[in-house]
């Protein structure tokens, strides 16, 4: 009863690549089946690292409801935890771009399936596929634009990327449920080692498949399957090389030729990477000059300290990185200043459950943050006054900034002027 398909891509003879087929699709699918859950989990952990349950100030998606079911108090051990997680999340996202493109290329004939809807089941599955493809591209695009500070997407990155991830993963799980069997059968249908030894003259189409991926009228091959896998792999490798250095740091930072934080701003003790300069957020020397005071609140009357008084307190050292949600991070920097735990004791709350940290930065996101008791008590958590043997630079938070192990960078508040400890 079905009418003939319209001309063009709806006709089976239109798609002519001789290497398109279930085996090739399944190889790309397998890589994504490993990579995407890893990105999803590291993404969820990144959200948990902000301690959104502790205060609305920490939560960019307060209407999350049950999507925050897994949240837990973020640890301070190991101190490089956030650096590793977010470096993996972002670098993996960049590296998987060619695999994703190849996977989508390999299944494009299915977009033009005719008739467009064969049954209720087929219609629902296609709707789910729209959410899958729209979702995965939406997630990759918002992520990749955000790490380059190209804020053209509609609204808060946190909202879009977090809720978009849930929309995507709902469709992803269905896709895996429906296709896992077909993927494993397809992978078993050909030997990878034999495929890697097959030259162009013996590159033949796969046998016709139920999905119609294999070309009905294949063109002569111009590339082997080995070549196609190699080209995609080379794309991933190249992206890895020009990106990963901004997260690994050290000498490798300079190899991240195209990554946003691939070099040091300036030279000297304060020449490590900056998330937002003082000028960019409206912090001026007028706000940080000799009139600057730190106010410490807790039990009893507020206490006021000058910077000299803070420097006269016992100074402690900690070697900790700055690690950003954008995936880049600094090497360990040598911070010094009073411990947050000592300041809590001065405020009359040595066992404080939380502290509200306020910046002199003009109002905006991340100018106030709440840290948890375990973060206050960690002996490496400091109100840093100096770094690498010098005073903090204005761009790194002079006169004083918070530094806490395993904390996401934006929660290591710069230009602090008030700490409010609470039981």
């Amino acid at each position: 009863m079905h009418s003939d398909p319209p001309p063009g891509p709806f006709r089976p003879g239109f798609w002519r690549s001789p290497i398109r087929g279930p085996w090739l699709t399944s190889v790309f699918g397998l890589v994504l089946l490993i990579g995407i859950p890893l990105m999803f989990v590291t993404g969820l952990l990144s959200y948990a690292s902000y301690n959104p349950g502790l205060s609305p100030l920490n939560d960019q998606t307060p209407d999350k409801g049950v999507l925050g079911f897994y949240l837990f108090g973020w640890p301070t051990h190991p101190y490089w935890l956030y650096r590793l997680l977010q470096g993996v999340h972002v670098t993996l996202g960049v590296v998987l771009v060619p695999v994703l493109l190849a996977k989508l290329w390999s299944v494009i004939p299915k977009l033009f399936a005719w008739p467009p809807v064969r049954s209720v089941a087929h219609g629902l599955e296609r709707l789910s596929l729209l959410l899958l493809v729209g979702g995965v591209i939406f997630e990759f695009v918002t992520g990749i634009l955000n790490i380059q500070l190209y804020y053209v997407f509609p609204g808060s990155f946190y909202r879009l990327h977090f809720y978009g991830a849930w929309v995507f993963i709902a469709a992803f799980v269905v896709h895996v449920c429906l296709k896992l069997g077909r993927m494993t059968r397809a992978l078993r249908s050909r030997s990878m080692t034999a495929e890697l030894r097959t030259g162009l003259s013996r590159t033949l189409p796969e046998p016709p498949d139920q999905d119609g991926l294999v070309a009905a009228a294949p063109a002569a091959p111009t590339m082997t399957r080995r070549g196609a896998l190699g080209m995609v792999g080379a794309g991933s490798l190249l992206l890895l090389v020009v990106t990963a250095g901004q997260s690994i740091g050290g000498r490798l930072r300079a190899t991240a030729l195209l990554a946003p934080h691939n070099r040091d701003p300036g030279s000297g003790p304060n020449s490590f990477q900056i998330n937002k300069t003082a000028a960019a957020v409206g912090v001026t020397t007028a706000l940080t000059g000799p009139d600057w005071r730190l106010e410490v609140r807790g039990r009893g009357a507020p206490r006021i300290f000058t910077r000299e008084q803070l420097l006269a307190m016992p100074q402690h050292a900690a070697a900790l990185p700055i690690a950003c949600v954008e995936g880049w991070s600094t090497d360990d920097q040598h911070w010094s200043g009073p411990r947050l735990a000592d300041l809590a004791a001065l405020a009359g709350l040595p066992d404080a459950g939380s502290v509200l940290v306020q910046s002199i930065q003009p109002p905006g996101p991340f100018t106030r943050v709440v840290l948890r008791g375990n973060q206050i008590r960690d002996p490496r958590s400091l109100l840093a006054l100096r770094v690498n043997g010098a005073d903090l630079s204005l761009d790194h938070g002079y006169p004083a900034r918070v530094i806490v192990p395993a904390n996401p960078g934006v929660n290591n508040t710069k230009w602090v002027h008030r700490l409010t400890f609470r039981a």
């Binding site: 209407d63 999350k64 409801g65 049950v66 999507l67 771009v97 060619p98 989508l104 290329w105 494009i108 064969r118 049954s119 209720v120 089941a121 087929h122 629902l124 599955e125 709707l127 493809v133 729209g134 591209i137 695009v141 990749i144 634009l145 380059q148 500070l149 190209y150 804020y151 997407f153 509609p154 609204g155 909202r159 809720y163 978009g164 849930w166 929309v167 709902a170 469709a171 799980v173 269905v174 449920c177 162009l200 003259s201 111009t222 080209m231 190249l238 992206l239 020009v242 030729l257 195209l258 946003p260 934080h261 701003p265 300036g266 990477q273 900056i274 998330n275 300069t277 000028a279 960019a280």
Partner: protein, 166 residues
Amino acid sequence: MARFVRWYGSGPLHLLVLIASFALTGYAMVRLFAVQPVRVAIWFVGAAVLHDLLLLPLYSLADLSAVDVLRHRAADRPAVPWINHLRVPAFLSGLLLLVWFPLVLRLATPYPGATGLSYSVYLGRWLAITGTLFAVSAVALALRLRRSRRAVPAGNASGPGRGGTP
């Protein structure tokens, strides 16, 4: 059961999994679309449309045109298939641009002010990488051509075949 399968087009498990998935989708979508719903929807659907109906057709067309042009020049074609010496560096260079275009094309206006870094380095580096990729590809082709000329005496039309096993 058989009647259900005939009406629905698949087994009941298929339906249950999809309904469970759509419930989660709905829950997340209400929140995704809570702010600027129209623009978010355009971005979400637009992402799929832009890829499937613009990016993919464009690069396929470019690839087909290149293959076609080379085929019609059979007379002066080198004795080894060389489309991939064009295809691979073009793919790699395009991929780098696709991922890093906001920096390469200096579109990310907050970048220099926020990071204290200039974005002037990116365009030059992308061009340098592109040049290197094509140059390496050219050298590889030159080596293959020399090898094939040595293997076959000049003037032999049959050539080494299109085997392509290097």
